[in-house]
């Protein structure tokens, strides 16, 4: 089977998709990712905006209605979930391989 051309995802993208399983605005995503990764991944402001722009273009996330006039709130789409599933399977495969080699 041919692999999706968007795989593998960057670490930033993977974390953002995970964070957007629940709706969040830009800065909230940054905070969530830092927390989820236990401080390993800190997304800077410019990177955050660029990532949102890209993910919107790919239709992996979508802006959802919100009260906030300035901040847009985003959420993962079904396409985004699909990619997340594929990527997770890829990472699991790697992990299993490493395990058979005693890592």
């Amino acid at each position: 089977m041919k692999r999706d051309k968007n795989l593998p995802l960057t670490e930033t993208t993977y974390y953002i998709l995970l964070a957007l399983l629940e709706p969040a605005h830009g800065y909230l995503i940054m905070q969530k990712v830092e927390e989820m990764s236990q401080g390993d991944v800190k997304i800077a402001a410019g990177t955050m905006y660029g990532a949102i722009e890209n993910l919107l273009k790919l239709n992996w996330i979508v802006a959802v209605p919100s009260e906030d006039k300035r901040r847009k709130v985003y959420q993962i789409t079904s396409q985004g979930r699909e990619i997340l599933t594929l990527e997770t399977a890829r990472i699991r495969k790697l992990e299993q391989l490493a395990r058979t080699l005693d890592f």
């Binding site: 960057t10 670490e11 930033t12 605005h25 830009g26 800065y27 940054m30 800190k42 997304i43 800077a44 402001a45 410019g46 990177t47 955050m48 905006y49 660029g50 990532a51 949102i52 006039k69 300035r70 901040r71 847009k72």
Partner: protein
Amino acid sequence: MKKFYMAKSLKAEEDWINHIQEKGFRLVKVNPYIGSYTFEKRKDEDFFPTVRLDFHQYMKQADYDDYLSIFTDSGWTLLKGSVKDSVNYFQKTAQATEDVIFSDNESQLAFYKRNKQQAWRSFFVFFALALSWIPISNYQMGMNLSHPKSLFLTPHLWEMTGLRFYLSFIFELFFVVPFRTPFMCLLMIAAAIFYLYQIYQIKKLIKKQNTIVD
């Protein structure tokens, strides 16, 4: 303190600003169109107000509001920029936890590439202007730069005297220099060459960024 600078890339501009700031100053005002920067002596010596530049074109107002809120929420204030400006200048506040605005390789590269694209566009604009100015300033059509007097068209200009001569001369000079000499054409060629130089410098940055990853 006011300083002028002509940057070879946005990265170089950022580095130059922060280098000045390291000497105990903080950037307070920028006019990117004439390349002027106003610095003030820094009061808070302990906090370094890092300046970072970002580049985006043709943003919608709603997208720009969201963009700006991501920066301000994470502790960066807008020093100069608007939805219409492609370059936005951000300054770090004490609330910011990061010193950079690009935290991964992909976004850093994408920033350089946007800068490079812009430099290419500017190059083509000035190159086209230089070409189109050749017929406008038709200096090659029998006009002779070694006889500058022949470039002036006012009848009897050179027989006038006193104030009348100076007024007529200066008045016509504003027509002669751009339209009857290669001056404007050369100026535009110089601008085009400057943008080629920018492209070369940005390409070096991109190459360097790529080798960091390898």
